[in-house]
Amino acid sequence: MPSGSPEVTSGPPLVEMRDIHKSFGGVHAVEGVSISVMAGEVVGIVGHNGAGKSTLIKILSGAYQMDDGAIHVNGNPVGIGNPRDAKRHGIETIYQDLALHDNLDAVANFFIGREIHTRYGTLDNAAMERAAREVINRINPSFVSLRDPVLSLSGGQRQSIAIARAIYFNAKVLIMDEPTAALGQRETRAFKDLVLRLKSAGIGMLVISHDIHDVFDLSDRITVMSNGRQVGTRHTADVTKDQVLGMIILGKLPEEGTEEELAQLH
């Protein structure tokens, strides 16, 4: 276990990743990272570009297969061999690149893989449009073009679709890789409200963000990664933004940094 992990208080975590390893050819993208999320908890993951954040969460979402390590859901070891397995365990993901189908409209993107259909296998477009409109508009009230191919939409609108479809299907754990990167100020505020509502509904969330302010606003705990390794995990209440920035930049825990190193940060 990495040093500095805070004590988990009650019951098994919703999900726990233990000592995860993943290499691409010679690149060790993730080396021995452990992370857990409790019900109603938001865990922020921060680190430089290429730190391995996306690789880590893609193992949990079933997009990648880990080389070594273990995943537990509600305390039980599980195998996640593909994205279907993850969804079956109630793990939904908003990917960094959003993973949308540019040639399809917002409604089709929303329901792809989980289409509402009649018993003859034909699409129930009206029902899908109603449901999608309701959820998307809750996130982005100005969103209107549900029937245009999504490649014609703005980055913020595209992100709204990705968020909406992740929360619609009763996720227990939500993974969000840079969920606010393309959102405007107003939409980001609406997103933060949404996270608070999901939190009080008992949903656990893993949030990757480059915005240290967003991470501090949203997270209960923060995990810092650097070069595939876990620098440490801290309760947000126990650290300052400067200390977390120090962990990101130096790749060391605050108490490990020397006076000079810490001084250089300012």
Binding site: K87, I112, H117
Partner: protein, 334 residues
């Protein structure tokens, strides 16, 4: 809408849209209407230059002549929309033609012989799908290989000679129904309706577009991308084998020399109909329009006594122009 569709493949005054991708989408739509307008022009041209062209019996001729390629092109539409290609149809059409006659001559009931021929084709398609998904070979190369194998099999099974049908009744598809319309034309229309409906209104159709649009996103959404791909190649090759059955019904014989142009002409038709080369866009309506354009031009040129090899040249030129205009539009508006 900033569309203005011109003749000849949809030249338009697009370009005001700041988002080039949006224009690319619209350009494929415009290509559909452009090719429709082009078709009208072709019909008017031949109607003016040939007395016989604009008649009911010639319309039937055209339909009869495009049936085989039409059936192949329906399957090719599935392959291309899903982000693939199927060159093997050029080998599967003769394989279906030969196996159908061999089974029919073995005293098998005609529907059973048809079904077996289609299954032989579908088996080739399953191989295509497995090679593309599990081995990870590019569809063009994979199906080029199976083209050669299937065509070789057709020659081997027929010993390189044309096998006459022992029982003329086996060629039932060439019989006439509803006046002078042969059964196989009705079959083409029926198959077109089924596939059009499936692509437009069913879950599986939606997923075919999804896979063609973004294969990785489809996988992340939990689609069984490999299984769907294999099913698509199986359907495509099954349809190609059925097209071979139709050819044998027309000829009352099975020959390994038929259908060599199936790959080129079916792909040309699908692309002419507005499908995107990279997948995700296209459909049955456009494909049938593409098939009709090429078939009508071939028919009209034959009526005007233009030698057959010029038709081949015309097909190539039209395809290049259509795709070229599509790219021209994309560049202009991008």
């Amino acid at each position: 809408m900033n569309e203005h569709v011109g003749m000849g493949g949809g030249m338009s005054a697009g370009g005001r849209d700041p988002e080039s991708v949006k224009s690319r989408w619209q350009s494929t739509q415009a290509q559909f209407f452009g090719i429709g307008a082009f078709y009208v022009a072709v019909v008017i041209f031949f109607a003016l230059t040939s007395d016989y062209f604009f008649s009911y019996s010639n319309a039937l001729n055209i339909l009869t002549n495009v049936t085989v390629i039409g059936i192949v092109a329906l399957g090719q539409t599935l392959a291309i929309v899903s982000g693939g290609f199927d060159l093997s149809v050029s080998g599967v059409v003769p394989l279906g033609a030969v196996t159908f006659v061999i089974f029919g001559n073995a005293e098998m009931a005609t529907p059973a012989a048809m079904l077996l021929a289609v299954l032989v084709g579908a088996a080739v398609g399953v191989c295509n799908g497995l090679i593309v998904t599990k081995v990870g070979i590019n569809p063009l190369i994979a199906t080029l290989g199976t083209l050669s194998i299937a065509a070789g099999l057709a020659y081997a099974l027929s010993n390189g000679v044309t096998i006459p049908m022992k029982n003329i009744e086996v060629g039932v598809l060439a019989e006439r129904t509803y006046g002078r319309v042969p059964y196989y034309v009705v079959t083409l229309i029926g198959l077109s309706l089924v596939i059009w409906f499936a692509m437009r209104f069913t879950v599986i159709g939606r997923r075919i577009y999804a896979i063609g649009g973004n294969r990785e996103a489809s996988r992340l959404a939990g689609l069984r991308v490999d299984e769907i791909t294999i099913a698509i190649y199986a359907t495509c090759a099954g349809l190609a084998a059925f097209a071979g059955v139709v050819v044998s019904s027309q000829l009352l014989a099975g020959s390994a020399t038929v259908g060599a142009d199936a790959a080129l002409t079916s792909i040309a038709s699908v692309i002419l109909g507005g499908a995107a080369l990279f997948g995700g866009v296209g459909g049955v309506g456009g494909t049938l329009l593409g098939v009709l354009v090429l078939g009508t031009i071939a028919n009209g040129m034959a009526l005007l006594m233009v030698p057959a090899f010029y038709q081949q040249i015309a097909t190539g030129v039209i395809l290049l122009l259509a795709v070229g205009f599509g790219r021209f539009r994309a560049v202009m508006s991008g």
